[in-house]
């Protein structure tokens, strides 16, 4: 159960979660609780992270956050489709499940990251890049072709900038303790 050796490779999902555990999202949201293989109805989320928009930090940043930043509850959902073909229909179903959870938990907004071992189809690229509902940031990424598509909204664009999804897809990424 001790730290992994340097030569040991980790999966993109593990690498993505590790980056979030190390505070990769802190400029936008302070994700504090991480679940794996979280089942909601018939959807299994590889990562389900909960948090809020007010980050902690030390004295000055904590004071700044407390006085200036709103404290909205937010979440991150990550699905690993593996070798299953990612169709627009299945993606719509995932979005519907996430929307239900965000409505039930009264979340202000959420991230949904879908990882696939296959190349992304043009339909998926078109669907994700045209998605513009401001409450849900959407990203689809292929672990084989390393292609990443982000939704056309502010929350979606932040997946690429802040969450460093591309770094998690790097094949030769080694575990560092």
């Amino acid at each position: 159960m001790q730290s992994r050796s340097l030569s040991e490779q980790i999966s993109p999902v593990d690498a993505f979660e590790l980056n979030l555990l190390r505070g990769g999202s802190r400029l936008i949201a302070d994700l504090t609780e991480f679940f794996r293989d979280y089942k909601v109805d018939d959807t299994t989320f590889a990562i389900y992270a909960k948090g809020n928009t007010r980050n902690k930090g030390l004295f000055l940043s904590r004071f700044f956050a407390w006085t200036v930043l709103p404290n909205y509850p937010v979440s991150l959902f990550c699905i690993n489709e593996g070798k299953t073909l990612l169709s627009t229909e299945s993606l719509r179903k995932r979005i519907e499940t996430v929307t239900k959870v965000t409505d039930e938990d009264e979340l202000q907004w959420a991230w949904l990251v879908v990882l696939s071992d296959r190349a992304l189809s043009p339909q998926i690229v078109s669907f994700v890049s045209r998605y513009d509902r401001k409450e849900l940031g959407l990203a689809a990424a292929s672990t084989s072709s390393k292609q990443i598509v982000l939704s056309n909204n502010q929350v979606g664009r932040s997946i690429g900038k802040q969450l460093k999804l591309r770094k998690a897809l790097e094949p030769n990424k080694h575990w560092r303790n």
Binding site: D14, V40, D41
Partner: protein
């Protein structure tokens, strides 16, 4: 470090009382403050703050210092998560029911890999972890 300083002050007081005010003997005796201070600090840490998590495939127990703070069986939990504390250190949270009562295991105070430990615990805990969402209301035309 405070214990080293305290030991040095104590040794110095003893030396002054015994009229040892200079020379290499005083430096030698004051040098003893380092091992003495480290030993005292280590003893207090082991007695009060050292955290040990003992576990097998059936149960676990958390020992903090010289007392057992938490004990339980993996099978009595339904859900496991990693929770970041106020310093950003990951600890394990075990839920008895989905969004219900929970127990925190301070794994950040051990040398366990948090993700691996969580995955191992997840394979040990029992129960159905499916969260059901309530169907959305649709108005008929």
């Amino acid at each position: 470090m405070p214990f080293v300083l305290l030991s040095a002050l104590l040794i110095n007081t003893l030396l002054v009382n015994n009229h040892v005010t200079g020379g290499s003997l005083k430096i030698l005796l004051l040098g003893g403050a380092f091992p003495l201070g480290f030993l005292a600090g280590r003893l207090i840490y082991v007695k009060r703050s050292h955290v040990e998590i003992l576990f097998d495939d059936i149960s676990f127990s958390v020992i903090k210092g010289s007392r057992e703070t938490e004990t339980g069986s993996w099978r009595s939990f339904r859900l496991v998560s990693l929770v970041l504390d106020q310093f950003g250190k990951p600890n394990l949270r075990l839920y008895r029911a989905v969004e219900g009562e929970y127990v925190d295991l301070p794994i950040s105070k051990t040398n366990a890999d948090p993700q691996r430990f969580r995955d191992h615990v997840q394979s040990l805990i029992s129960g159905v972890r499916i969260r059901k969402t309530t169907p959305q209301v649709v108005e008929a035309a």
